[in-house]
């Protein structure tokens, strides 16, 4: 089993990820965005539903 150690030494190397970084990071960022938008819209809906109850 290969060791699980930090693969990248500089931030810049981690971002680039051997020129695949753009794809990897963009997917994760978009997923994070979609998750937060989804949960925020529903808590917002929940809140204004509670007000007029």
């Amino acid at each position: 089993m290969e060791k699980i150690i930090l693969q990248f030494h500089t931030l810049e190397e981690a971002l680039l990820m051997g020129d695949h970084g753009i794809y990897v990071w963009s997917t994760y960022i978009i997923t994070g965005l979609v998750f937060s938008i989804f949960s925020i819209t529903f808590s917002w809906k929940l809140r204004n539903l509670k007000e007029d109850e």
Partner: protein, 234 residues
């Protein structure tokens, strides 16, 4: 069997159960999800063939798994609604549909973005992407059908029927799409089969699968609370 379940799934009990466990589930979900992703992104070793772009697997595989799982979850609830007339089932179906729709969209997104470095095009007629796309349309169809009826009872029953018929269709679509794509070109690097992946990559994958699952469960709690309140208020 039915009166065994009923005290458990009455609306009021579900609501305060929901409120009680929601913060813990949310925290656990986010913790494990981020743990799995960080380890997968920064600590897992590089893949010999694909280089770093394989790291999207920690996102794509959980999404693909849960897009199927949520449809089965909805089918079980619609079965219980149609056969045992459990009161809470329609709101569970609707909230699961919202989440499943989002998860399938993410699975599609990550699948196609992953395709760019490996195949050079963002859309590739791979069996899994096509069946996930069909699944995405079925989620959208379920949502549009649900809010196009005035009488809530007919809306719930028809949504339950479509979910039930849809779930029978998923294995059929999967098999026929596999059969179709294997004839066209040999299944190239198929994205989601757990090929003999090295243990060091498998651990973060399992953590992220569990983490995403718990997080989606917390989203489900929130959305179902909103659906129930909305149903109560109007």
């Amino acid at each position: 069997m039915k009166n065994l379940l009923l005290p458990l799934i009455s609306v009021k009990e579900y609501l305060n159960l929901n409120k009680m466990i929601y913060p813990y589930v949310l925290f656990l979900g986010i913790f494990f999800m981020l743990l799995g992703w960080i380890v997968g992104l920064l600590f897992a070793p590089i893949d010999a063939v694909q280089g770093h772009s394989y790291r999207i697997i920690y996102l794509h595989v959980p999404m693909a798994i849960y897009s199927q799982l949520i449809y089965w979850f909805m089918a079980i609830w619609s079965f219980s609604f149609l056969i045992w007339k459990i009161k809470i089932a329609p709101s569970m179906i609707l909230s699961a549909a919202y989440i499943g729709c989002m998860v399938t969209f993410l699975a599609l997104l990550s699948g196609s973005v992953w395709g760019i470095p490996t195949w050079g095009t963002w859309w590739q007629w791979d069996a899994r992407i096509t069946s996930t796309f069909i699944l995405f349309i079925m989620y959208l169809a379920l949502l549009t059908v649900n809010n196009s009826f005035q009488n809530t009872n007919t809306a719930d029953q028809i949504t339950a029927w479509i979910a039930l018929v849809g779930v029978i269709n998923i294995p059929i679509i999967k098999k026929s799409v596999d059969w179709w794509s294997t004839l066209h070109q040999p299944a190239s690097i198929s994205l989601t089969t757990e090929s003999s992946i090295d243990l060091s990559m498998l651990i973060p994958l399992l953590i992220s699968i569990i983490g995403v699952g718990i997080f989606l469960f917390s989203l489900g709690l929130k959305v179902s609370r909103w659906v129930i309140y909305r149903r109560e208020s109007d």
